[in-house]
Symmetry: C2
Subunit: 168 residues, 2 copies
């Protein structure tokens, strides 16, 4: 499958691997980490799994609650934050800065910053890639003599299904 490189590609929708199960997502993560010689330990894997199952940006303390509830584990904040740090370093998870929450990344095999559309109504988030925006940002940075590292793009609004469900 080859996409024209100047088109945006939605990544949490029905295309891409949008229909993959959390288990499949985690399996991919396991493979990637093995290839990279990175250690996807039990806690780390569990947290990634929870994020995929959650389906929306999830806070660190919410993850702690869930872990404590489901397991026998006694996890503290540092454990979770360290795991999230690892997952972010591997490109498996991204932080939604405007919500202090974390989402799993649809394309961990490619290293890129994510672009998120977050529904204020249902809380769901969709990941998108739009190389045209990347390009413009890169150009703007270049024009200013600015050397770009990371970038955050987050759009807040109402998703299709919540718009549809709304009263006039």
């Amino acid at each position: 499958m080859t996409l024209p490189s100047n088109q945006p590609s939605p990544c949490s929708e029905s295309c891409c691997r949008g229909d993959s199960t959390p288990a499949e997502r985690v399996a991919l993560a396991v493979t990637l980490c093995r290839e990279r010689g990175a250690r996807l330990t039990a806690v780390r894997r569990q947290i990634l799994e929870l994020l995929w199952e959650s389906g929306r940006p999830t806070g660190a303390y919410e993850l702690i609650e869930t872990l404590r509830g489901e397991g026998l584990r006694k996890v503290g904040p540092p454990t979770v934050y360290r795991a999230l740090e690892f997952l972010m370093a591997q490109g498996l998870v991204s932080k939604v800065q405007s919500r202090n929450a974390y989402v799993p990344c649809a394309h961990p095999e490619r290293r890129h910053d994510c672009l998120f559309f977050i529904c204020a109504d249902c809380g769901a988030s969709a990941e998108l890639e739009d190389p045209r925006i990347e390009q413009l940002l890169a150009n703007d940075a270049n024009d200013m003599g600015f050397r770009m590292n990371r970038r955050v793009i987050e759009v807040e609004g109402t998703c299709r299904s919540c718009v549809a469900a709304q009263p006039i």
Copy 2:
């Protein structure tokens, strides 16, 4: 002055009102608020002033410190957060989500979300407007049936002068 509408316009640089003093910035804010029937009270004005004087994204608690230091006031967090909320509602200030910090806006007269370039080295931030990026985001949102409200775009990197100052 008429700018071609499809060009990005840097707003904390030497163009735009980049050479305005904090006092001039505050004066503009006073005018705008008067026009709008919004009350730019003492605390609110002071905080806006501090932000302009600071020259970099500044945290709420840092503002509290400074206010306590310079004045006789006994300001608590709620006071500052309420003031920031007001200033943001008026488009006078914007929050840098990736830093939990606040910056004054170069163009309070126009209502728009800001795009920031933040130097990881010196902490300075530059505001930019790029209608082309806005347009692409709007199109992407539209394609997904997503109704867009707010958006956050923050680029982290190294600014021109810090790049220049760096060892090879």
